[in-house]
Structure formats: structure tokens, C-alpha cells
């Protein structure tokens, strides 16, 4: 008799056996290719979203090998104020996984750890990477294993990464929380449509997730002992394509109240937004997108003055905005049903002086004048 864990691993064993031998750092230096062994190395400690690890906007020096480590955590996570629990699968303990930032031509070297305490095999597919199913074929790790994958960041932009361990496991791992994003900056930084440099004072990373939590016969959300226990019901619900929750950063209200994002009038904020599975349409209520890379790819000129931008499922985009007025801004998925009823709402708290020129209440509400 096989255990549930063995059954889940079974689906991916074939991939492991067929895996290619690990890379060595002795690959020959070809024309235009640096000697990898000679490259400087930099270790980066990732931070949980919406925050982003410190990084240079304009790279100093040549390409480097940037070392990251992510530990996969399977754990129950509360996803709304009612205490609804998701048997979550996470990159580094957060939903979404952390935003990684490198520069073009840097080498991303990720060590992916799957602790013995987990029950499932996992891997990582980087949309920024070339070959081997985005690295998925070379990064499958069973509980108790770790793997190190390196890829060259050849293209600039914001890109999704997600778990893709094969077959039905792929969408299930993704809707269980296993996605994040990487931003590959041009070495000389962001530029507007005329090639003029753009900078940001703050950066926030928002990962949007669609969750599918099964209900019992009374209509209450069910909770399960383990991811495996949730599998059958969740798959059935997922196939209906209607999420029960559509949230930013792992839960309803993750970026509101005490956790609202902060900014000041005059500050320029870069908002990176990813959705690994489903289309979304971010909108900053009361603000705009000054420069928006809707598809997230910095080789294309940014669109300007957008009201709402479209993030295709399976991609990450970036929007740059300089706040001009103080107050509370709601940043929503402008399918307003998803924003208000399903949870896709975040808030910015913006401090600063009010500009009457941009807006004023000329006359407060009063009874309708009668003559």
C-alpha cells in the first residue's frame, strides 16, 4: 500500500529520473559569455511581500551571480476575517513568494529547500528563465531534499515564478499559494518612452491569488488536515473556474488597516503586481499609472497615464506613480466584485499637504436650494 505522500510524489518521480546531470561551474566561457566561475557573487536575503529586499536601481559593475535561498513551507493559512483556512503551499513561508530583484545579465542562483516536514514534491518554473520548463525540470525536490538552480537573466522585466510539478499538481500548487515574481532591471535602470531615466522612492510587491475553498453541505468553508486531504474537493471546485477568494498577498485585508502600504506626497512608488493564474486589472482609486509596463517587460516603452492596467494571468506587470494628494487610496482589482466581495483590495496611506488646485469641495452638501 502506498501512502498519500507517495502517491503525490509518484506523479513527479519520472521527471526526477529523467533529469539532466547538474550543472557544473566549469562550463566553457564562450564569446559574450563571462567565465561564470570568475564572476563576483552576492548573497541576498529575501523579505516577505509587500516589501522588497534592498537593491540597486542602476547596477554598479558587471554581471554577478546573485544567490537566493527559498524554503518551501506547507502550512495552514487563514485567508479571511472569518478564519477560513487554506492548506497553503508557500515559497519561503509567504503568499505570494518574495520578489527577487536582479539586473539583466546577472545570474540567478536559487537554492530551493523542501524540508522533511512537508508532504509533497515541489519545483520552480521561472518565466524569466530559458529552457527546461523554466527550470522546473531541474528543480524538483522531494521532502527532505534541496536543489540549486542557476539561470541567466537575459530579458528585462517583471516575471512570474511558480511551482509546476506536473499534471494536475501544477494548477493545484499554484492556487494553493505557490507563486511569486522576479524583477530583472535594465543595468542602467528604468526608462520612460523617450529613454529618460525613471526612479522610484519606494517599491511594493503585490501578488494576487485566486483561492478555491470547498464548502460543506451547510455552505460553510471546510478546513482540512493536510494539503492532500483538501485535494479532491479543491480540484472539483477549481474546475468550475469561480474562485471563492480573490486576494492580495494571501488573505483578505492583508494590505489594509495596520498593514496598509505607506507613501508620502511627492514620492514615486513602483508597484509590481503578479497573478500566476488568472487575469486581473489593477486600478489605483484616486490616482493613476504614470508609467505602466502592463506586460511587465522593460524593453517595451511604458504606457502613460493609465486609469486601469491589465495583468494577464501568468504574468507580472509594473506601474510607476508619483502621489500628488494625501489621503487613503484603495488599490483594487477593478472587477469590483472581486475587489469588494472576494477580497482584492489594498490601501495606501499617503501623508502630505492637500493640493486645492487638483481638487476642492466647492460647497459642502446642503439641502437643495429652493427659490
Amino acid at each position: 500500500m502506498i501512502t498519500r505522500r507517495e502517491a503525490f510524489m509518484g506523479a513527479t518521480m519520472a521527471a526526477v529520473v529523467a533529469g539532466m546531470p547538474p550543472f557544473t561551474s566549469k562550463a566553457k566561457a564562450a564569446v559574450g559569455r563571462p567565465d561564470i566561475a570568475a564572476l563576483p557573487r552576492q548573497k541576498v536575503t529575501l523579505v516577505a511581500p509587500p516589501f522588497v529586499h534592498t537593491h540597486e536601481q542602476v547596477a554598479t559593475g558587471g554581471p554577478k551571480i546573485i544567490e537566493f535561498t527559498m524554503t518551501i513551507e506547507e502550512k495552514p493559512m487563514v485567508i479571511d476575517d472569518e478564519g477560513t483556512t487554506l492548506q497553503a503551499m508557500t515559497f519561503n513561508g509567504s503568499v505570494p513568494g518574495p520578489l527577487m530583484v536582479v539586473h539583466q545579465d546577472d545570474y540567478v542562483e536559487l537554492t530551493l529547500v523542501n524540508p522533511e516536514s512537508n508532504s509533497l514534491a515541489h519545483n520552480i518554473d521561472f518565466h524569466a528563465a530559458t529552457g527546461a520548463l523554466g527550470g522546473g525540470e531541474l528543480s524538483l525536490v522531494n521532502p527532505g531534499e534541496q536543489v540549486t538552480l542557476r539561470f541567466r537573466a537575459t530579458r528585462t522585466g517583471t516575471f512570474v515564478y511558480h511551482c509546476a510539478p506536473g499534471g494536475a499538481m501544477i494548477p493545484w500548487h499554484v492556487v494553493s499559494g505557490m507563486s511569486g515574481a522576479i524583477m530583472v532591471l535594465p543595468r542602467d535602470g528604468l526608462k520612460d518612452e523617450k529613454g529618460q531615466p525613471l526612479r522610484y522612492d519606494r517599491i511594493y510587491y503585490i501578488g494576487e491569488n485566486d483561492f478555491y475553498i470547498p464548502r460543506d453541505k451547510d455552505g460553510r468553508y471546510k478546513s482540512y488536515e493536510s494539503p492532500g486531504d483538501a485535494y479532491q474537493d479543491t480540484m472539483e471546485l477549481m474546475r468550475g473556474l469561480i474562485p471563492t477568494h480573490e486576494v492580495f498577498n494571501g488573505r483578505v485585508g492583508a494590505l489594509t488597516g495596520d498593514n496598509a502600504m505607506a507613501a508620502k506626497v511627492g514620492e514615486t512608488v513602483l508597484i509590481v503586481h503578479s497573478q500566476a493564474n488568472r487575469d486581473t486589472r489593477p486600478h489605483l482609486i484616486g490616482g493613476h499609472g504614470d508609467h505602466v509596463w502592463e506586460e511587465g517587460k522593460f524593453a517595451n516603452p511604458p504606457a502613460k497615464d493609465l486609469e486601469t492596467w491589465f495583468i494577464r494571468g501568468g504574468s507580472a506587470g509594473a506601474a510607476l506613480y508619483t502621489f500628488l494628494q494625501p489621503g487613503i487610496y484603495a488599490y483594487v482589482n477593478h472587477n469590483l466584485i472581486e475587489a469588494v466581495e472576494l477580497g482584492a483590495t489594498a490601501h495606501f496611506m499617503v501623508e502630505g499637504a492637500w493640493d486645492d488646485d487638483l481638487m476642492a469641495q466647492v460647497e459642502a452638501p446642503k439641502p437643495i436650494a429652493t427659490n
Binding site: 472569518e82 451547510d218 482609486i285 489621503g327 487613503i328 490601501h347 492637500w354 459642502a364 452638501p365
Partner: protein, 317 residues
């Protein structure tokens, strides 16, 4: 928690004494008495529920009430402007005529009786709730329908409390509006930001799911579950008032009775048809966990006169 159970009076005795009150010439009372009698068999259908729910429930109990009267100082509900700028709600001291308020919120079982009688729409609360849990997932419209049915069924006059009556009954549990109104004439965002911070800092209820009656204990008056996790509808309409320049008197006011005041851990305003606080709120701010209600009973004398008046009016309709 069943803390309130032991304190329930013998409701049967209340029922009997009510019958004694039916006077021979009180025609409206007799009619409603018949309605009440007719309601009993229907509610007997809930006998199995009663057996499951414990011995404190009888087939048709008249709600236990607490008598309240006195003066209450409270911030007026609504929104207030002076010189075109939002200002804190003025506090008023009001003398409230004596009234009786339900010791507990109307329960799932209570409300079900109204539904069974065909006078109330089924609530939106999660199924499978204990019968002694407050009825939630009910709108202002539902609460009004229940009050009308309950008045007819009991032959008494029951209605929602006004916000002032609620404040008086709530006593030390009353909070009213507590969001700061920062007066920075040049920057309206200061007020939004400070209110947002205050809302974020508000202590959340430990559990969002409605709890069995009595779970949040009694206040000094002996009224249970005030300011727990069920916000209560009142009969007070939302109103926007302009205060006289330099004064506290209301110069103009526009009432919107499509929106009513709810009281609880903090004050809330909801459209009459909203049954779920979470979807009825604004874009920002902490919404009520659940919407429910309790009723007040008007003094009997008034009831008799009012009913006679209504009956006479009815003749000329």
C-alpha cells in the same frame, strides 16, 4: 455559553398574565389575542427544536425585558458640518421616556417563528446555528417585519429602539462614534488618515461568528450581549446636519431614511436592505461582524390608546 439561561423567567407565567390583561371591551386586543392563539399551534411545530435546545424555551415565549428610563448623554448619530467642514457630532443630554427593552437579541428560534408564520423572510445567517444564537443576516426591513409580526402575535406594541434608547439601555457598553474628527481646514486628508488609523486600531471582536445568547454577558442594567459581535438595528435614520456657524444648534438637516443607524461596538450606518455588514460598508473602514436586533415594548396604556385610535382610523379607511 449558557450564562443567560438560568436567568430566564418563567415565560409561561408571563403568557398567562398577558391573557389576564385582555379586557372584555378591548376589541383590538382581542383580535390580536386570537392571532396570538393562532400562532401557538404553528410554533408548536418547533417543539422538536425546543427539546433539542433545552428546557428554557417554551413554545411561544414573550421576550424577557428590562425596564429602562432616565437621561442619556450621547453623540448624535449622523454626519455634521459647520462652515462646510465635517465636525465631531454634538453630544446631547436627552430625557428618555420609560420603555422596556429585550434582555436578549431576537434569536434564531424567535426569528424562525416569524418565518414559519409567513411574515418574515428567512435570514441569511449560516445554516446550522444553535437556536439560541442571535438572529443575524437580517436587514432593517426584516427587523421591521419581525416587529410588526411580533406585535400582532403578542397583542403588544413592539418596535426597534431609537439610537438614544439604545444608548441609554447600553449604559456603560455604549460607545457611539469614536472616530476622531481632525480639524485641519486646509487638508481634508488629515481627517481621513486619522479616522483610518483609529479604525485600524480598533479592537476586533475575538470571534466574528455569532455566539449563543449570553456569551457577551450583561451590562449594569441586566441587558445581555450589547456591543458583542452582533450590531443592532435602530429606528433612527441617517441624517446630515449643518450646525449653525459658531454654535451647536442644528441649522439644516437632511434625513435619509433609506439608511439606518446600527449600534454596537461602534456606530454604523447601513442601507435598509443590507443583511451582511461586510458588504454594506464603505470602501475603507471596519465593518460590523453581524447585523441583528432587539425590540422595545411600549407601555401598555399607550398600546391600548394607540390600538383604539388605529381601529377607529381603520373604520374610515
Amino acid at each position: 455559553m449558557e450564562g443567560g439561561t438560568a436567568r430566564l423567567p418563567d415565560s409561561r407565567a408571563v403568557l398567562v398574565s398577558k391573557e389576564v390583561n385582555i379586557m372584555p371591551f378591548d376589541i383590538p386586543h382581542m383580535i390580536s389575542g386570537l392571532v396570538a392563539a393562532a400562532a401557538i399551534p404553528a410554533s408548536m411545530l418547533g417543539a422538536a427544536d425546543w427539546l433539542l435546545d433545552g428546557p428554557a424555551e417554551i413554545p411561544f415565549p414573550v421576550a424577557q425585558t428590562v425596564a429602562v428610563s432616565g437621561r442619556v448623554a450621547f453623540p448624535l448619530p449622523g454626519e455634521f458640518l459647520r462652515d462646510g467642514r465635517p465636525v465631531a457630532a454634538p453630544r446631547r443630554l436627552e430625557e428618555i421616556a420609560a420603555f422596556e427593552i429585550m434582555t436578549y437579541q431576537v434569536s434564531v428560534l424567535d426569528y424562525r417563528r416569524c418565518v414559519d408564520a409567513g411574515a418574515c423572510r428567512p435570514a441569511d445567517a449560516a445554516p446550522g446555528q444553535a437556536l439560541r444564537t442571535p438572529a443575524t443576516g437580517v436587514s432593517h426591513v426584516d427587523a421591521e417585519a419581525y416587529a410588526a409580526w411580533y406585535s400582532q402575535a403578542t397583542g403588544e406594541r413592539w418596535r426597534l429602539p431609537s439610537a438614544a434608547e439604545w444608548a441609554l439601555a447600553a449604559g456603560e457598553r455604549f460607545s457611539g462614534d469614536d472616530l476622531p474628527v481632525v480639524a485641519d481646514a486646509d487638508n481634508p486628508a488629515e481627517r481621513w488618515l486619522s479616522a483610518y488609523r483609529a479604525e485600524s486600531a480598533r479592537e476586533r471582536t475575538p470571534v466574528a461568528e455569532p455566539q449563543p445568547r449570553g456569551a457577551f454577558g450583561a451590562n449594569a442594567h441586566g441587558v445581555y450581549d450589547l456591543a458583542g459581535n452582533v450590531w443592532e438595528w435602530t429606528s433612527t435614520c441617517y441624517v446630515r446636519s449643518t450646525l449653525a456657524v459658531g454654535g451647536r444648534e442644528i441649522a439644516t438637516a437632511v434625513e435619509n431614511c433609506g439608511v439606518h443607524v446600527l449600534e454596537g461596538r461602534h456606530r454604523a450606518y447601513m442601507s435598509n436592505f443590507i443583511r451582511d455588514g461586510k458588504s454594506g460598508g464603505c470602501a475603507v473602514g471596519v465593518p460590523p461582524d453581524n447585523l441583528g436586533f432587539r425590540l422595545v415594548r411600549e407601555p401598555r396604556g399607550e398600546t391600548f390608546v394607540a390600538r383604539l385610535r388605529d381601529a377607529v382610523r381603520g373604520l374610515f379607511r
